[in-house]
Amino acid sequence: MSDEKEEETMDEQAAPVDKSAEYLAGWKRALADYDNLKKDLGRERGDMRLAAAADAVMRLVPVLDNFDAAMKHVPNAAGCGDPAYQGWVTGIGYIRTQLENALKEMGAEPYGKVGDAFDANLHDAVGERGQTDESPLLSKEGSGVVLPRIVELVARGWKIGDKIIRPAKVIVNK
């Protein structure tokens, strides 16, 4: 009984010191949390700007892809010798370039070309195909291992800085 009582009094005496230490720790933690929050916010603001740009780029890139598809399908037979038609096609080509430049001005740059080594960090493989042309395949030095490389670029990749906005869609060799 007496022991318990003694302990209680000791607890009571210790309490204010304990509490103040606890409060001080809590206060320091709160200040640190706030400081960290400020840093996080700064970082997040940067991320958000990038995300907003990425979102805008992501919406426009498919339009450019389709312009590219359209330019590939210009029917040449009908166009020959008709200057009005030729002029119209050239104009559409300029609109395509304008869109591409707008994307570049937003900080985005296209990448990817046939012959590049396939890199899953940059490229999205949508298919593979047996190699038909004669050009040598890339191989890891000395290993003799044949590395996959791009044999057809279905759609170019886009990035802003180091951030991949859309991986290039590619077909690689078998």
């Binding site: 949390d33 389709n66 598809a69 399908h73 960090n121 490229h123 279905v154 869609k169």
Partner: protein
Amino acid sequence: MSKILGIDLGTTNSCMSIIEGGQPKVLENREGARTTPSVVAMTKSGERVVGTPAKRQAVTNAESTLYSIKRLIGRRFDDPEVQRDLKMMPYKIVKRGDGIAVVMAGKEYTPEEVSAMVLAKLKSDAEEKLGEKVTQAVITVPAYFDDAQRNATKVAGEIAGLEVLRIINEPTAAALAYGFDRKKGEQIMVYDLGGGTFDVSVLDVSSDTVEVKSTNGDTHLGGDDFDRRVIDWIVDEFRKQEGIDLGKDPLALQRIKDAAERAKIELSTSQTTEINQPFITSDANGPKHLALTLSRAKLEELVHDLVENTLIPVRRALEDAKMDKGAINEIVMVGGMTRMPLVQKTVEDFFGKKPNITVNPDEVVAIGAAVQGGVLQGEVKDVLLLDVTPLSLGIETMGGVSTRLIERNTTIPTSKSQIFSTAADNQNTVEIHVLQGEREMAADNKTLGRFTLSGIPMAPRGVPQVEVKFDIDANGILNVSATDKGTGKSQQITITASTGLSKDEVERMKKDAELHAEEDKKKKEMIEHRNLADTMIYTAEKMLKDAGDKVSADEKKEVEDKIVALKAVKDGDDHEAIKKAADELSTVAQKVGAKMYQGPQGADGTQGSDCPKNDEPIDTKAEEK
């Protein structure tokens, strides 16, 4: 104290979350995505990749790309599940002892090792994001997982270098994320429709535990099946229109797959969507375009049997739990597919109550795991409860407008100050009328107190600078001070009852504000026009005085006429008339101002329009009423 990572190790995607400042937060992976594909691959160059890159190279490397490993973890080779996957998976599954191993680039790995690769990526991405080591985790598993599967999951965590503090059930985690573990005596149904699996669980929340009463589901039903229906529909429609089968063109199919998924997601929020893929293919007649409109109604028609079928496991789970559907208190939705309005409606119609879907259904399980981690760590309990001001606080400014300094819901303690000025020439006192409430006009808000700051030196209006500072301490005691920056003279008032309103009072004041928002806004705009007119008259008069002989009598007369005209309308209620008169005055005053070669100051009205914003004149007795 290092963070405990909450991990939802999913069949198709995984997600991770932590507790920060007492609140759960989903961590993005290195690629910036909130979920990570549960895919592991060994590339042909001998590099091991996990997550999105692994998924991207799958086509080229199918036999060394491992996915859906969760279907295999902790199983024996002769399990029917394994035998079924044996035929379906492009990678090799072999017998190892009683258990199994999978083959990647010619080497055997146990499912634990493969899951560990996913977990290790999550761990290292979390560490990169947090800037500190992460060593402990709570990992979720389906409620139907047996001991062997749970144990194997735990082993996977340990291989990844994580101390697995707890393995918890996915439905329990979802309930935790909603805080339903505190709803003693409630029965909860968790409806989890993910990318490739469908699970339902009935939970019983008793005093200290959340018990899983029953589970049911379909291991091969999910969002992918919904996508397939849309893809088939698109291919069919195109065949009808153009007579070409896109199903045989892998590149076109890829584009259709992306478009179908986007359309499905879009139709969760809109009624129709365009599927527009120009130049999808070509034949002898030239290029062909895919252009279709898909309505929500059509989508629902395409998938309604899939949704309807989810009710079969729901009924079975209720039967197994020996429970009537009426006994379910809460329904929790998990998995991206539950965003589909038809799914929500079907569940709501069945139970006769709205399901819970406010926590992101892709993240709710990971969030629940983090909450469990927080409980283990004591962080969730440890949070210091911070109070907020229930209503906005401010002072009355020119025209009886209530100008807010501290917005409602601001966490206290806090302080805020703003510089105000006088509304009249040679005004030597300002009255600080402290207000509480959301209404735009001072008269509609509650007066907390008032005091006067006197002894301001004689000066034209707008020149003196009076700093008004609001400070609320942690106990809600408000201290308002006003200091004349010129003389340093200061006055203050302490209001102890600033947050002492009853809940009803606060609610009523908030409702009032909502109710009168429109008319208050109009009233405030009116006052703003009036204040602007006032300032313009003042500056124009001052300009004429300053100009002296530089301006001809005719021009002076013209400005004076316009001043009179504006004065005549400025106190009326026709704000169009005020605006017109003010514009006219501005035009003539500008002409005169230009003549004076004294720059734009005071003549073009810009100062006038800025003035009430930056240096809002404090209302005075002389000015008002």
